[in-house]
Amino acid sequence: MAAKAKHSVGRITLRQDLAAGLYLIPFLIVFIIFIGYPVFHSFWISLHRVTIYSDFYDIFGSMEMVGLDNYRRITSDPIFWWSVVLTFAYAFMTIVGGMILSLALALALRKAKRGFGILRAGFFLPNVFDIFVVGVIWLMLYNPNGGLVSMMLSLGGATEAAQQGVLNNPWLTLPAIAFAMILKNAGFGMILFLVSLANINESIFEAAQVDGASPRQTLFRITLPQLRPIIIFLAITGTVGSLNAFGEIFAMTDATGGSSVQVAGETLQSARISAFHLFMRFNESAYGEAAAISFVLLGIALIISWINFKILGQSD
């Protein structure tokens, strides 16, 4: 009897699986055409090289097969590794800074007080602006000749930095861009934190208060653990966003990748993060190298995801 039931369950599962598979076919076809094949073809391109004599009308057909040479060149290219380092630095600044500001705004505006609705809307508003619009606004703010930030630096005594211009100082370029993006995106994190805070049972806070917990203890022992899913979500989307960050760099460095800096004898650009570096290669028709860069970046993204997954797994 038991064996019959088991067999029946198995047959039903198989039929269900087949039906599910059939339902998936349209999606799989779309997936293979628009994602699977392009990914495979990109990898194929990454094993080739466009030459200056490649036929303009058959650029992919006239590429040279170079095997893994593009990967060898990338991994020995200081500009590429510099771009990866900058990407991590940018990710750290935007993710940590963005979370702190978003959380601070959410905690400050969580109560239903008069005027808070307008403030919430105001803080969220930059998030809907196009990144190039925000970039141009910040270019004006950072203008060494009369820009608001430069004026504030002058008033604060940092005259030399103000005259040089924040975006013209190679050590300040990336933090300045990150700062602008933190302010732009903080509203989105604030909304997520507000929703999450509203879902925390008020009795937990009351119990903590009865037990004599300090505000600091309440924040670190109760609020932050309760907000963990949102923090993880913001960390993951922030990492992906940093790997794809392009518009803000393009807009705020006049499409140059930032002012120059010498590191270990190499002249490098202070905001040439990975996505911008990839764009520069693609833009000069170096499709093979650009495809190889994208696969190396994919590898890096997978490693980061794996680390995230491990941390999540341990915690849960």
Binding site: D55, F56, Y57
Partner: protein, 484 residues
């Protein structure tokens, strides 16, 4: 919805989509029997496009009358900066036009990629001009040369100049007038701009008023805007040896002098920091009367005039006499030394658009006739007198009516002293990856040695561009030169 239609609907959608795409392509390729068609992609401004369309309509009529066949010329507007990317994408589908007006610096890339028709091998060209040299004599030499590309040791003409520009000095007469007394006290004439770079700094010291945010000069730092300095100091950037190998030609006395001159201007205190990122860039600063002098091109005249500025245009300052003597620099126009004095050593770059015929054109000879018609003396006279454009054909310069555009002769004079941009593939890489980062350091760090800059630029130029060109030479073992 039945189960079958549920499963089939996505496929039906894609089938319809595919059919729609196919029928669209088919419709666009339909050609009337016996009639000729030409498709032109151009990136002129709106009012220029209107005049160009009219001229092409006139060409249609004249051609039909002469050949007894119908001709339809279709003129499409493609934004100037988007032309090359659009051609690159369209070429993958084989949908490029017959004629495209491309940025002159892109002709080399297109020619090396076999995208263009060799004009000097066309029957219509041979019939009209005979040889390339004979054709060159009729055009502004530097503009014409932008269409000549040496591909694997063989030079051909791949395009005709259809719009030519150059960079000149713009100076704000009102600012000069306001400081007339101080200028005179310093022994300077307030009614004219400086003639050499040392004099520019002298003028700048008087005109600069830091408290008001007014500076004597606003400087660009990109390679394109620095070519005038390179040209007047005799810096070639790239040279070719007897075997045809491309070699970097920056690390020499001329290169050092040019870069030192750029640094001196930036550090003189009269330059407003216009080269810095997020700063008021030269054109905006000039428009807002913050920079008394800038170097820019004719495309800004209308903006400045509409802004109500009282400005004039002059030759770019020349190297000081001491530099001319030390480097033994020849004048750019020996015949003008008596008339211009030291300004005969002034120079500039040549920009603009080159008309090329794409290799997929079904009627390259008719396309060449259209290009030749537009660049003819009569059309160029109209082009200049109606729009203030610089005629590309020298015959149109004679007795040209410039009453509506008094600045035009100034640009034309500057053009006579100018040189073409070096013929080099991947100009964007040269500018963005090689030159601009180095000049950025040069201007930022007073202790950054010019020699280090020159060595870095030569090394990168060799490694990223020239080495790849040279790999393709027959004596280098053949094979294609890798680009990326």
């Amino acid at each position: 919805m039945t189960r079958l239609s549920f499963y089939l609907s996505p496929f039906s959608f894609f089938l319809l989509f595919a059919v729609a795409c196919d029928s669209g392509a088919g419709a666009s390729s339909t050609r009337e029997e016996g009639a000729a068609t030409l498709e032109i992609w151009q990136g002129f401004k709106l009012e220029e496009t209107a005049v160009f369309r009219r001229m092409m309509k006139e060409f249609e009529l004249e051609w039909e009358a002469a050949n007894g066949r119908d001709l339809t010329v279709t003129v499409h507007f493609v934004a100037y900066d988007d032309m090359f990317p659009k051609l690159r994408t369209a070429s993958l589908a084989g949908l490029t036009p017959d004629i495209a007006f491309v940025d002159a610096i892109k002709v080399t890339d297109l020619a090396l990629g076999q995208a263009l028709v060799k004009l000097d091998e066309l029957e219509s060209f041979k019939k009209r001009y005979g040889t390339r040299d004979e054709a060159r004599r009729e055009f502004i030499g530097a503009s014409f040369d932008a269409g000549v590309v040496n591909r694997k040791g063989i030079a051909n003409l791949y395009g005709l100049p259809v719009q030519t520009t150059t960079v000149s000095m713009f100076w704000n007469r009102a600012i000069f007038r306001a400081k007339a007394g101080a200028l005179r006290a310093a022994g300077l004439d307030p009614n004219r701009p400086p003639r050499d770079w040392d004099e520019l700094i002298e003028y700048g010291r008087v005109l600069t008023d830091v408290d008001k945010g007014v500076y004597g000069f606003g400087m660009h730092s990109s390679l394109w805007f620095n070519f005038p300095m390179f040209n007047m100091y005799g810096v070639d950037v790239v040279a070719y040896d007897e075997a045809g190998r491309a070699l970097p030609a920056l690390d020499n006395d001329n290169g050092r002098a040019a870069l030192n001159r750029i640094r001196t201007i930036a550090a003189s205190g009269v330059e407003g920091g216009a080269w810095k990122r997020s700063a008021l860039f030269p054109e905006a600063g000039f428009l807002n009367q913050k920079y008394a002098m800038i170097n820019t091109g004719p495309w800004m005249v209308e903006n400045f005039a509409n802004g109500g500025l009282d400005f004039d245009i002059a030759l770019i300052p020349a190297p000081p006499q001491a530099d001319i003597d030390a480097l033994g620099l020849p004048p750019k126009a020996p015949e003008w030394v008596e008339e211009l004095g030291i300004q005969a050593w002034s120079s500039s770059n040549v920009g603009g658009q080159t008309g090329v015929i794409m290799r997929t054109s079904a009627q390259p000879d008719i396309a060449f006739e259209a290009l030749d018609y537009f660049t003819s003396e009569a059309r160029q006279r109209e082009w200049a007198s109606e729009l203030g454009q610089i005629p590309v054909r020298l015959a149109a310069w004679e007795d040209l009516d410039t009453s509506k555009y008094p600045f035009l002769p100034r640009f034309m004079q500057q053009l006579r002293l100018s040189q073409r941009i070096p013929q080099i593939v991947l100009f964007g890489k040269l500018e963005l990856d090689i030159f601009n980062p180095e000049i950025d350091l040069l201007l930022q760090k007073p202790d950054y040695p010019v020699q280090t800059m020159l060595e870095n630029m030569e090394r990168n130029l060799e490694e990223l561009i020239l080495g790849r060109i040279n790999e393709s030479l027959p004596d280098a073992g053949g094979g294609s030169a890798p680009k990326g």
